[in-house]
Amino acid sequence: MHDFLQQYVLNYLDSKGLTPGGAGNIFWATVYILLVFGGLSVAVIAMNWLERKILAHMQVRLGPMRVGPHGLLQPIADALKLLLKEDIIPAEADKIIFWIAPFIVVLAAFTVFVVVPFGPTHAITDMNIGILFMLGVSSLSVLGIVTAGWASNSHYPLIGALRSSAQMVSYEVAMGLAVVSVIMMTSLGSIATGLYGAGNIGSQASGTLSMIGIVQAQQEQGVWFVFKFFPLGLIGFAMFAIAMVAETNRAPFDLPEAESELTAGFHTEYSGFRWSLFFLAEYSAMIAVSSIAVTLWLGGWLRPFPGIHGPSIAIPHIWPPADPTAPTGALDFVFALFPGIAFLLLGAMCFYNVRRMPKHPLFKIQTVGLAGFGAVLGLIGLIMFIPPVRDRVGDIFWFAAKVAAFMYLYIWYRGTFPRYRFDQLMKVGWKVLLPMGLALLVLTAVFAMHGELWAQFTGAGHP
């Protein structure tokens, strides 16, 4: 039994190029699920702090400063406060549905991470229908929002829920059209039949819906899809970037929870732990749609300029990586050092701020705490320079960095754009994005097949 278990755990390490789901290994799949869940929770906590800080600095305020150095412990204090708060269910509410609704939202927001590819093998599993699965399951979260608003049995939540469902159903259409144009692009390229999730049907080139396959298609075609068929890829990306903000109910499309009109929208009646579930779901849904955008248009786990390697170099014990198939160029080496350098820079920023802390004795604990935080960040940076670690975190780092850029954009939108009126929102969704999406689809098809179309037109293609 012991041998079997040992073998079961080790087997996956020997199988190269497979996700735990692809290898059918339940142990490693569980480990990956726990890692993704933990990472996501940390990301939501960090996002909470960052959003308040960045918004504050955009408005020339300081933001949270009291709990921990520069308010670093504020999210933890808030989480504790929410857990200790009284959990109120309104007397006239529909108890069962009021109870279920937050869980639907959280389930929908977390389940999609099953197929998010953090690296060629760093995904829980991969499906033949990856992107369809992500769009479908994330669209289920609207059910939770609608039922939450209805079950509260109150006016503001109901209006918020109605707005939210109308908005999410409308923008899903534009989102889907933008996605289809990318899926069309995956079928191009010389070796499209060998893609992950593309199947093995004859010699015909077929595209793929699998998330890993879409990134591999970008790798093989040597271009991120945002630059493919310039400017078509860029237009599709912009459409998705707009629709995804509306899908996650964030400013400037945050009508379902417009606080100046509806107090807090669909979750007005929720408090304590249940409210924090909505909060958690909102942020993880933001991360989920951002990772769709990163996977489809920005090359997923690929580093910038994935096609340029530079001259091959060798440094004993450090470079090239142990994996014989990995590229060995000088540029690859430079980009492989990025994760460590990024964390070292964050640590250095902490130490810079340690020097700027007030010298008053009351601030001593905070100063020491900030220095400790900087030391931990620096240590993580140093660990990332160790060659085996460096070779395994590179893809996760680039994916996370691209998603982080989207997270910053979300905060930036919230800080700068005024909220849309509801008729403006519908106008943008149906009269601008939908026709644009249809035109994009047709144009992408024409660009993709222009050689064959021309041959048909002139008759040259016929024998």
């Binding site: 033949n128 479908g136 079950a151 469902s165 899903e172 593309a198 199947g199 049907i201």
Partner: protein, 182 residues
């Protein structure tokens, strides 16, 4: 890079009974709940369990479409409409009509049909041709596309296009009926 199918199949009897039981319980709740929202939620549960059954048949594309269209799209519109109905009035109204005789006759006929199919199938007579087991999980989407659009193997394109035309007509009809002035 394509993983070979050497894993134990997930389509085990346990999952089938779990999903089937979920569907049946969901279906019963749909007709017995007085509150329309509770019925709708039960229907969504049943539809999601059905998507799970499609997954067990190694048809992930159909399962994905089931989730997006039925659970995600149509049911949200259902809920949207039901939410605006006055629930207090519908709860007071009579839920079932009194046509017990017809109902029992229809149920008995359907049950008899199921039993007949089951007994003939287990006796070995070929009522339905025996399906060949193919693990089409890895290329289900591509195979459906070939059946629809391929110039040689494609045979359902006409039916597909007719169905989409029908949907288009229905959409235009809905818009014309809903809007007084266009």
């Amino acid at each position: 890079m394509i993983p070979s199918v050497t894993n134990p199949p997930v389509a085990t009897a346990f999952f089938f009974y779990l999903l089937a039981a979920t569907m049946i319980i969901g279906g019963i709740l749909v007709i017995t709940r007085k509150n329309a929202i509770h019925s709708a939620m039960a229907l969504i549960t049943a539809l999601l369990a059905q998507a799970g059954l499609y997954l067990m048949l190694y048809a992930p594309f159909v399962a994905g479409v089931q989730i997006i269209l039925y659970a995600g799209g149509i049911m949200v519109l259902f809920l949207f409409v039901i939410m605006l109905i006055n629930i207090e009035r519908t709860v007071k109204e009579r839920q079932f009509n009194k046509q017990w005789l017809v109902g029992i006759a229809a149920a008995a006929a359907l049950g008899g049909l199921f039993i007949a199919v089951y007994t003939t199938a287990t006796k070995g007579k070929a009522l339905f041709p025996e399906g060949s087991m193919t693990y089409g999980e890895g290329d289900n989407t591509q195979r459906i596309a070939l059946l629809l659009f391929d110039s040689h193997a494609g045979q359902y394109m006409f039916a597909f296009e007719i169905a989409s035309l029908l949907l288009l007509v229905a959409i235009i009809g809905a818009v014309v009926m809903a809007k007084k002035r266009i």
